[in-house]
């Protein structure tokens, strides 16, 4: 009885958490593409104007980023200016929550059929590598190992701390700019 009463609250909290995480990740994707050369190299292979979306089916929270050239990504918020090129879609809000709360690795979520890829799979694979790199930077190592298949061997603490600080600063600045606008 008590559990039933709290279910709508838990469900709303889950939706809000996922929406917030998408906002953070979208901004962080833009930031990491300005900070990290490896991410820039990955993104450079994407066509200019390439739109990437992550969303919760059927019409839940989403994030959209665009490759604006030179390996730089631009966060568009939750809606795309035109049809997206690649979309990674969580089948249910619970599946998105499992991944975004680091209870299930992205790779495991793919293996468990929690998500669908719509569009060119090779670009989706590339964007997944970018997401993994981002998570390795911004999450503490013990959390990152829960989110990604393998923590990068060549990512050492000084580089991680400096990059993470830059990314968080850029994300915070972007949040403030959006709030002011």
């Amino acid at each position: 009885m008590v559990i039933k009463r709290f279910q709508p609250i838990a469900s709303r909290a889950k939706r809000q958490y996922v929406a917030l995480m998408f906002q953070v990740m979208g901004r962080a994707l833009q930031a990491v593409s300005e900070v990290d050369q490896e991410v820039q190299q990955e993104a450079q292979a994407l066509p200019e104007g390439f739109l990437f979306e992550m969303m919760v089916m059927p019409d839940g929270a989403s994030l959209v980023v665009e490759h604006v050239g030179d390996g730089r990504l631009h966060y568009h918020g939750s809606s795309a200016p035109r049809p997206v090129n690649v979309s990674i879609r969580f089948k249910h809000i619970t599946h998105a929550f499992l991944v975004l709360s680091f209870q299930e690795k992205t790779s495991v979520a793919f293996a468990n059929d929690r998500m669908l890829v719509d569009g060119d799979v090779s670009y989706a694979v590339r964007m997944t590598r970018v997401l993994n790199r981002l998570e390795a930077f911004i999450l503490p190592r013990f959390v990152a190992t829960r989110a990604i298949k393998e923590y990068p061997k060549n990512l050492h603490l000084p580089e991680k701390l400096i990059s993470a600080a830059q990314i968080y600063l850029k994300v915070a600045t972007h949040f403030i700019q959006t709030a002011r606008a």
Partner: protein, 395 residues
């Protein structure tokens, strides 16, 4: 490695064994189909493999309305459009695809067009675009390896854009897969070996990659056992129908396994090498399999060790210490490849293929890294890792 969640789906009726082809008329009429079209290639027709199918239908008073026998090794959007036009012109109501991966994929694509409408198959590319059951569709494989008869995907080349279009929907699955040993009896030795190694790779990768699950494991291990027990026997006795049937069943079981648990780095490398160097898929699988297993070893030690039972049998499994079983499994794969090399010179290294240039390895590595199946490899793969595996496989 064990998943706490999985999905498994295979609604394909498998009709296998002696005189299986003679069940086709019954299965067609059971789906109210009276005007079937055969889709195949010239090699299959020249080998006389259509004759028993046509005979089986005629004996049941069922005429084959049309035969398209010009499917190329890499089927294209134009071929699919042309076949769909013939299907409509002749008022066919069902499709029988007879052949290897290309003929089967073409059959799946034609079925989309004739069921959903239109002339441009490219409009249906991607996943989940098909929402309705398609026309009655039967598959008769003439190789024992691809497992295409039980997979829900097809790949067709778009000639204009020079890209491969993937199609994925559970509605692409055939109504029935007809496995008759007569269809693989005349398969040349090197194709028998390469396609069987394709089935072996499907089994091993589905058992060791990230989406493994209890049901796909059951199919994978049975497939591996059948290939291990029958392949060399068939190589030495190509007309042995029981051996041929065992390999054909292994291919279907491995197909069911990998279509439900996906594959990993062996396939990523194979897809890239096939696209760049035009090497047959089964051959690529055979070349890369032991090198990728060595690369993944520490991540898959448990399941790979279990496979020793199916690769070498209970005696070898029992006398091998548990901590050495994974290495022994890789050794068993290498031993099988050596035996195949001795019998039909099936290449064991990229150098032995004679079709790969060492300067192409970087390009293969980059393409493999973007292949969808790499997502399911149990170990995270970097460009340097792929390059190292390729160096080892070069020989």
């Amino acid at each position: 490695m064990t998943n706490t969640y999985y999905e498994f789906f295979c609604p394909v009726k498998v009709i296998a064994g002696k005189a299986a082809l003679e069940h086709i008329p019954y299965e067609l009429t059971g789906r109210a189909a009276r005007r079937p079209m055969i889709i195949t290639d010239k090699g299959v027709r020249a080998a006389g493999l259509l004759d028993p199918v046509i005979m089986a239908c005629e004996e049941s008073g069922l005429d084959i309305i049309s035969i398209y026998d010009d499917v190329p090794p890499d089927s294209s959007t134009t071929v699919v459009r042309d076949i769909a036009a013939i299907y409509r012109e002749k008022s066919c109501d069902s499709i029988i695809a007879i052949g290897g991966g290309s003929a089967i994929d073409t059959g799946k694509a034609v079925n989309i067009l004739v069921s959903e409408g239109g002339t441009d198959i490219a409009e249906y590319t991607g996943a989940g675009l098909i929402k309705h059951p398609l026309k009655p569709f039967f598959v008769v494989p003439t190789t024992a390896g691809t497992g295409s008869e039980v997979t829900s995907v097809a790949v067709i080349t778009d000639e204009k854009k020079g890209i491969k279009l993937p199609f994925s929907s559970s509605f692409l699955l055939p109504d029935a897969a007809v496995i008759d040993p007569r269809m693989t009896l005349t398969l040349p030795a090197h194709i028998t070996a390469a396609t069987a190694m394709d089935a072996m790779t499907h089994g091993i990768e589905s058992f060791t990659c990230m989406a493994k699950n209890p049901l796909s494991d059951a199919y994978a291990t049975s497939a591996i056992r059948k290939v291990s027990e029958s392949l060399l026997h068939v190589m030495d006795n190509p007309k042995d129908t029981d051996g041929r049937l065992a390999l054909a069943q292994a291919s279907t079981m491995a197909g069911i396994a990998f279509s439900n648990s996906m594959v990993g780095l062996v396939h990523s490398l194979g897809h890239a090498t096939g696209a760049l160097c035009h090497l047959p898929h089964g051959l690529c699988m055979s070349v890369y399999l032991p090198y990728v297993l060595e690369y993944n070893l520490e991540t898959i030690r448990g399941p790979l060790g279990e496979l020793l039972l199916y690769l070498e049998g209970p005696e070898v499994y029992a006398i091998t210490p548990a901590e050495r079983r994974a290495e022994a499994s890789i050794a068993a794969v290498r031993k099988l490849r050596d035996a195949l090399y001795k019998r039909c010179e099936l290449p064991r290294t990229l150098r032995e293929t004679g079709k790969v240039n060492e300067s192409q390895l970087d390009q293969i590595a980059e393409m493999a890294l973007d292949d969808g199946s790499i997502m399911f490899n149990p170990k995270e793969v970097t460009l340097a890792d792929v390059r190292a595996v390729l160096n080892n496989a070069w020989g």
